[in-house]
Symmetry: C2
Subunit: 491 residues, 2 copies
């Protein structure tokens, strides 16, 4: 199997598209804009889900499930929400097909038209807050901390596997609180959960920040986000957490009786991450040889390839390998022993490199005689010969070391790609020549933000949570600015 992978330096976008397909992660389906997530790609998503689900439960959330369909009228209830989401969505208008009378096939039955159209959920605030009205009466019912794992649909005109698809998988948390402060704390807490997941599990460093008004979620008073940087210098929004104020409570009339018996509107948050994270994972670490996966999310953490001539040699190697496989599994390490006789070792090496398996062991006749394994790590492509009785310790070390190493590499790349500029000219030059995040002063107006976007395609990714106060002048208008914000071109 030749990899024939386009180099990142030649065409980053092409490299990404090819890699997703060649590494068996996903492919386009016969349905426009919808992807098929293949078993290897889905296994990564499952590992992400398991880790996130545990973190959500540890912070007191429970899972539930709400309908796929949203009556059209629900969307209209919250004014800014409908403006943001009503545009591109899948609309169910009929509930039956029938055979055409002329025998030409099946057609939509015109008699089965819905009285009110149903929208395939682009996000579930409206249907959930319509439900919360029945669940919340008293302060004793609060906080309500619920998460949903689901598919959602946003009709996208230009799609890319994992990064932007018409249907995608995600989780959406929807919480209800008695006080404004508690809701804000929840939104901030979930941003932090996302950031810790990105950094500790995905090995993707992120900037925690607040969105500007124009980049906010439709219906939110504040949107907190985590922003990652890809190897082509473009930013990627990896997760958002919204403080929704009382907007949805008012739209759906959700009130609670406080301890004094007085009725008040409930405070809300919502927060989500999606299969887009798989795209971020691929683009952050992978190289011209294929995927590079962090051990914590790799479906196969260790692969063992036997090198042999004839069944007798294979049997001897297998006898050596089986107890090792068992020991590694008992330590929670996922191992594949690839003893297929339909493919040569070179083919297998290539395949696991392409698929980003963190550690590869090879064992041949000489190793058997010397009592060693050849151990190769995917991140640096380094190989070394390790005595059999040290190989478990070596693998345990590599599980941690590869995780740390690729994280540090991503941190270093990002550090090199945050550039402070003070003039619009410099901004444009850095954006085109170097890319990455550009830290600059901005006058706080939507007009200036729009102008910059139009002229350079860069958007304000966020106002970092830990931004330092630094009086300055907007690089475009020269007006006062209390702090720098981060710009970038983004996915």
């Amino acid at each position: 199997m030749g990899k024939n992978l386009t180099k990142r330096s030649e065409d980053y976008s092409k490299w990404y598209n090819e890699l997703v397909v060649k590494a068996d992660l996903a492919e386009n389906s016969g349905v426009r804009g919808c992807m098929v997530i293949k078993p290897y790609g889905f296994a990564i998503w499952e590992k992400m889900q398991a880790a996130l689900d545990k973190m959500f439960k540890e912070t007191g959330h429970e899972n539930a499930y709400f309908p796929l369909f949203i009556p059209k009228s629900y969307l209209s209830r919250e004014a800014s929400h409908v403006a943001g989401f009503a545009k591109e969505c899948a609309v169910v208008t009929h509930y039956r097909l029938k055979n055409a009378e002329d025998g030409s096939g099946i057609i939509v039955d015109p008699d089965a038209k819905l009285e009110e159209e149903l929208i395939v959920r682009p996000t579930s605030e409206t249907i959930i807050w319509d439900t919360y009205r029945r669940w919340i009466q008293s302060y004793r019912d609060l906080p309500l901390l619920i998460n949903q794992w689901a598919n959602v649909v946003r009709w996208e005109m230009r799609t890319r596997l994992f990064l932007r698809t018409s249907e995608f998988l995600w989780q959406e948390g929807h919480t209800a609180h008695a006080t404004e402060q508690e809701a804000i704390d929840e939104a901030l807490q979930m941003m932090e959960v996302y950031a810790e997941f990105a950094e500790n599990h995905m090995a993707v460093p992120v900037i925690r920040g607040t969105k500007t008004e124009s980049e906010r979620f439709a219906g939110a008073l504040d949107t907190y986000c985590i922003e990652a940087l890809m190897q082509d210098g473009k930013a990627l929004q990896a997760g958002t957490s919204h403080f929704l104020g009382q907007n949805f409570a008012k739209a759906f009339d959700v009130k609670f009786a406080n301890k004094e018996g007085k009725k008040e509107y409930v405070w809300a948050t919502s927060w989500g991450v999606s299969t887009r994270l798989v795209g971020a994972l691929i683009m952050t670490h992978s190289d011209d040889n294929g995927l590079v996966l962090p051990p914590m999310l790799a479906p196969i953490q260790v692969v063992i390839v036997p090198i042999y001539r004839g069944l007798e040699q294979l049997d001897a190697i297998s006898e050596q390998v089986h107890p090792l496989v068992k020991e590694l599994r008992s330590k929670g390490i996922s191992v594949k022993y690839d003893n297929r006789d339909t493919q040569k070792p070179g083919f297998k090496f290539n395949e696991y490199e392409l698929k980003g398996v963190p550690v590869r062991l090879a064992i041949g006749q000489r190793d058997m005689e010397n009592g060693t394994y050849e151990v190769a790590r995917r991140d640096t492509l380094e190989k070394e010969t390790v005595p059999m009785d040290e190989v478990v310790a070596k693998i345990e070390f590599l599980m941690e070391d590869i995780q740390k190493n690729i994280y540090q590499k991503a941190v270093d790349y990002r550090t090199e790609h945050i550039t402070e500029v003070d003039s619009y000219e410099e901004f444009k030059t850095e954006l085109e020549e170097k890319g990455g995040f550009i830290s600059a002063h901005w006058d706080g107006t939507i007009e200036t933000e729009d102008r910059i976007k139009e002229e350079t395609k860069a958007t304000i990714r966020c106002i970092p949570i830990d931004v330092k106060k630094e009086e300055g002048k907007c690089m475009v208008t020269g007006k006062r600015s209390p702090n720098r914000v981060l710009f970038a071109k983004a996915y």
Copy 2:
């Protein structure tokens, strides 16, 4: 909290509907036919998913994800499949909404009509086999063993929570094989996986069988099923596994090159269970006091209720309880210590009885003095006083004993409700007066099957896998019959 639950003997159907809502399992949503699965109900489904997913993986299956939407033309490709599924389904015809020009709200944008309508998947054979055409070239690509966890939509006119809803959650396995025998073996294996899950995890005894032609899945050559019996004497199909022959391979042109390089059509199976299982679980074990859950699927296995006057007593009890909670959790037992001071012990007892928590511990002042707990089991409602140092062992015993006991109770009920009859008169009498499964001879024709269904509402649930050969005469027509089959009224 008064339970006010209708008695089963008064109105079984009403009892079920009330119980689902009162026990916080699910409720109807604002969208016709679609349910909201509440956190407590979803936690049961999550436990089911985890156990099934493990069983699927242990039998070599991997998870993947395919699109929610199916182009209308795909459904037409397999003739009997379209007849079975095209009728009642949600049809997406447009991809955009817009503001009405007269300001009356949002309307479907007539300019955004899809060229080809999309069907919200009622099941995924067609979209998956369209994909498998790209994945399968050679015998080396087989078997292909894939499962998907997903939501599906079948537009139902009469819905009931969990049992029949327009949208439901399920898993669907779709496998591809080189030979007919391998595909049949796979279909039988998955029926057996379902049966073991039902019996060992849900404590629901099932009959393994084959469906008659008229009850088969649309597009299958054989449908294997597991059939359970509810407490009202009605049967419930709890899972099906289909041998699809080469029907879908032919419809979607999926061929593989065999070892001799000759092209052959692929052999297929599909198999699924859904959130309907939650309905089966509720109806099999629960009683007039509320849910009865098997320990293996109970979200909370043990609840501990303190009985106290004043904070000082509560503190002393908590000091006693905390190490017990910790010890139980370390043994993988899920425990809730309910120290809410907003509710009285009697209220809590009632609530956990309604919610089917298998074991309840209570501890008050006298228990503290005597070094005991009061231990109550939900299945028999028996209480006993247990010394503190024996309580862990007691709970471990109860986890197994309750599981066994409710299974045995269900087996006994079913044994009493399988009745052999030899005349149609007797059949009708037994069906009306006793219910349950009725084992009778049938001439093997669809006409007779239809007539029985029309006249009695009973259907052939299955021909049991272990049916004994017993030459007889059809109870209706008197024609020859090689064995008995099982009839019942069914959900």
